[in-house]
């Protein structure tokens, strides 16, 4: 073969000549790959390496720890996405699957995630005995369970709300189920999915810190990562290390935002379902950089082709798409059988659970757990009320000033990712120093990370408040209390409710971490369901863990159904502007 044979077409040669952006982009890509490979290698080491090289408080290790933690979160979000595609599609496309999957998702959403750790750690450790991979997977799974549900719900709702005309167009142009999924369902669901993935990522930090250093009964596994670094710092009462960890987290969150989410949001802007071009589209320097590269773009063309071929594959899907439910009336016999199977399954599970728990626990335990549950419920209510009193006025004030709102939003996003553990030192020291009541003064930890959702949403609501209504209010001399109750509060109500639902759900979860706090040898705990579950987990008392989780599920579900859902429906029906 001569050199001349290697000649490419002139247009191609031109396209392949790299420009300056290519160099930068290439460095970024290679760097990311190296880091992923390095981080990945570490996870398959035998478990004994943990003893040889235990987590150290020396800040020199922090970058490596941060990398490990970042990769765990990345893996978890990938798993969540795959799970979302499968689960949401099944629920949206099959009526019978939907009957089971959606209520199940509702429950999963309200299950305290940290309660899961007990079972999953044991399970995954047994899957890969003596290897780090088991513990890693357990940790990833814990993060996954904090991320997946809201993404799945968002995707399911999008898929059920695909506009009818696009649905008909897809059918009338003979798109196969597989093509339809990639061309219609996924793009349509994309904006909601990305927004929820970002929320999930913020929430995930909370659980990383809790799940990297796991103690279940006699087993303690400490995976190298920012979370275990924090845990060690708390144990050793080393305040400076807490500061380092905080800084690291800040940097990682910033990197995630700039390198991952911002490009995705900017790219996904085209999926926003709107018929007219809107004013300002989100931008990302990262995306611009890759869009300006020449050689890299030319080289990526085959991938685009592969991607297109992938979405055009003729894959038979295992379920039928319901284009028109009325046409083929569902077979009643199969329906009946299906209900029978569900009923039997539920009854068996209930019996198994009862059988297991009855051997260990009596009615007294159940009542005690409910009692603790009510205490935690009271805490959640009081804290949400307090957070509302503080953040609604602040949020409105900020939201009505667009420039300020723009700057505050990223800050609130960071604060939402702030794990309660990092605030332990302050709280524990204060409580001990001033002899305060732990039952009251530990409570604020529960809402530390979640109150920001209220602020977020109120800011969003106030920014969206129509300026003509504001002008009308001021031209009719609406002032003071009247201005709040007649104009602004109704206007932001739907947004506020969305934020409050998220905040209250998060607070329930946080109670497991927040109702017991320690700083060195000082262990404080307050009476509540969270502390109940945390203590049972530490003692390896499975029946009480199960009981605690079950009680929390019931309370959260009731709380949502009886309070938040009706309020949400009311807000959507009466107070949604525009």
């Amino acid at each position: 073969m001569t050199l001349q044979d290697l000649r490419v077409l002139p247009a191609w040669r031109e396209a392949l000549r790299p420009n300056i952006w290519d160099v930068v982009a290439l460095l970024l890509v290679i760097g990311a790959m190296v880091l992923i490979v390095y981080g990945g290698e570490q996870t398959t080491l035998p478990l004994s390496t943990l003893q040889v090289a235990p987590v150290s408080l020396d800040p020199i290790h922090l970058p490596a720890y941060a990398l490990r933690t970042t990769l765990r979160m990345l893996l978890a979000i990938v798993c969540s996405t795959v799970f979302t595609f499968v689960y949401a599609t099944l629920a949206a496309k099959s009526r019978r699957a939907e009957l089971v999957l959606i209520p199940l998702l509702d429950i999963l959403q309200s299950v305290p995630i940290l309660g899961f750790l007990t079972f999953t750690v044991v399970f995954f450790m047994n899957l890969f005995p003596g290897n780090l991979l088991g513990a890693e997977l357990a940790c990833v799974f814990a993060i996954f369970t904090s991320q997946a549900w809201n993404m799945t719900f968002s995707m399911y709702q999008s898929m059920r709300n695909v506009p009818k005309d696009l649905d008909e167009a897809a059918a009338s142009f003979h798109l196969s189920g597989w093509q339809r999924f990639w061309r219609l369902d996924v793009p349509f669901a994309m904006p909601g999915l990305i927004w929820n993935a970002m929320m999930s990522m913020s929430g995930g930090w909370f659980f990383v810190v809790a799940s990297e250093a796991i103690t279940v009964g006699n087993t303690t596994v400490t995976l190298p990562g920012v979370g275990s670094y924090v845990a060690l710092a708390i144990e050793k009462q080393y305040l400076v290390a807490i500061g380092y960890a905080l800084l690291t987290m800040l940097l990682v969150i910033l990197a995630y935002d700039q390198l991952l989410f911002r490009p995705i949001v900017a790219w996904a802007d085209k999926f926003r379902f709107e018929t007219t071009a809107s004013g300002d589209a989100p931008t990302s320097w990262m995306l611009d950089l890759f869009r300006r590269t020449r050689a890299l773009r030319a080289l990526s063309r085959p991938f685009a082709a592969v991607n297109r071929a992938f979405s055009n594959l003729h894959v038979a899907l295992p379920f039928r798409f319901r284009t028109e439910p009325r046409y083929a009336p569902p077979s009643r016999l199969i329906d009946a059988l299906w209900f029978l199977v569900i009923a039997l399954g539920t009854a068996t599970a209930a019996w198994e659970a009862y059988d297991y728990l009855a051997g260990w626990l009596g009615l007294g335990d159940v009542l005690a757990a409910f009692g603790y549950g009510l205490i935690t419920l009271l805490r959640v209510i009081v804290l949400i009320a307090l957070a509302t009193l503080i953040w609604v006025p602040v949020g409105v004030w900020i939201g009505l000033r667009p420039k300020l709102a723009e700057r505050v939003q990223p800050l609130a996003q960071f604060l939402a990712a702030f794990p309660a553990n990092l605030a332990f030192p302050v709280f524990v020291v204060m409580i001990v120093r001033f002899g305060l009541n732990a039952n009251i003064w530990l409570s604020p930890l529960m809402i530390l990370g979640t109150q920001w959702y209220i602020l977020f949403n109120v800011i969003a609501g106030a920014s969206a408040f129509p300026s003509d209504l504001r002008e009308a209010a001021s031209s009719f001399h609406l002032k003071g209390w009247r201005w709040w109750t007649k104009a602004v509060l109704p206007g932001i109500f739907p947004y506020y409710i969305t934020g409050a639902i998220t905040a209250s759900g998060g607070s329930w979860n946080a109670s497991i971490v927040a109702e017991v706090a320690s700083w060195g040898d000082t262990h404080l705990s307050s009476a509540g369901l969270g502390a109940y579950i945390a203590k049972a987990t530490e003692a390896g008392d499975f029946p009480r863990v199960v009981l605690g989780i079950a009680v929390m599920c019931i309370l959260v579900t009731l709380f949502n159904r009886l309070l938040w859902r009706p309020l949400y429906a009311f807000g959507e029906r009466r107070l949604r502007l525009g």
Binding site: E168, A171, S172, H174, K270, F271, T275
Partner: protein, 436 residues
Amino acid sequence: MLDPVNQAKLIDISGVCRSFPKGSGEDLLVLDNVDLTIQAGEIVGLLGRSGSGKSTLLRIIAGLIRPSSGSAKCRGEIIQGPPNGVAMVFQSFALFPWLTVLQNVELGLEALGVDSAERRKRALAAIDLIGLDGFESAFPKELSGGMRQRVGFARALVVHPDLLLMDEPFSALDVLTAETLRTDLVDLWIEGRLPIKSVLMVTHNIEEAVLMCDRILVFSSNPGRVAAEFKVDLAHPRNRHDAAFRQLVDTLYARMTQRAEPKAPAPEAIPGLGIGMALTHVSSNVLSGLIETLAAPPYNGHADLPVLAGQLQLEADEIFHLGEALQLLRFAQLSEGDLVLTDAGRRFANLDTDARKKLFAEHLIAHVPVAGLIRRVLDERPSHTAPEARFRNELEDYMSEDYADETLKTIVSWGRYAELFAYDDQAEMFSLENPH
């Protein structure tokens, strides 16, 4: 083996009925025993009021919904799912907003598994044909309504369908854009440059049907039936001001208002509609305005519908709704494509606001049974209140949920104007108490 006669029939619909579930559990018949055949080489128009089932028929042919009974065949085969060789253009364009113009056009070909080189070639040809050159890489949201619908046409034409289905393709466009697109399309059709054999279009615009179609089927409503068929023998390009054109438009107007005639030709004959009368919401403001317009010169109480529609810039369908509402309340009468004020209507035009409300209230109670029923129930009950559900349930015995919604909305709005009763939307309660 197909016999030659059957082969010529692209679409063969016979005895097709279609019903949809209604609130009360029974089914609501929207298509009743419809026959239709489409041969190669013709443009067929389905003309009718909203709710006449013409869109349903189009969707049956598109394989998107199935008939409840009767047979729907495409090239001799029973339609089960979207048939090959049939493509559709949508009223709302139905473009995928995340795909460029080119990608949108290529979509149908990808679904057919056409290889990429051929795909690109055919897509560019279709884009060229429909006048979208230069817009290949634009996203739909960057385009105006007219350009978007051109993409809709290109996407349908690129698969070279035998039959092009059009569901009110111009009704979401402004008047000028729609006209340009119509004439472009007709030009391409008569020049034989469209890669299609036949067109079936649904419309409620009478002039549009006469301008484009070779054959027009007029649908009557509730349930939808083919009320009449007209052949249009005018040569293309057709001139709207041509006497024969105007003649046909007038005939069609008359034919479409005729349906309403048995409803109220004379005050004593409202046959069997009673509570089950489905109302279309028309604002009382618009009604007053229309009565004033009719009473004033140049109409002086008597207007030709096409002329009135033209002056008010209304679609035929909209002017029918208005006319029927006036007819229902006995303020005017529809006949032979004309709208004539009654004595009450003339009186109404000359009254002040309070007197108008009074007259409106009298007519509402006398001629709209639901209004009378609500007022009676409120008068009888000691509390003078009644939940909306009380009347909704009764309405849903006769009509679908959507129609019941619309009817209640109309009654609430008219009742409020007439100050017959009050309605609390939050509590969903009717009452006699107006806030003082």
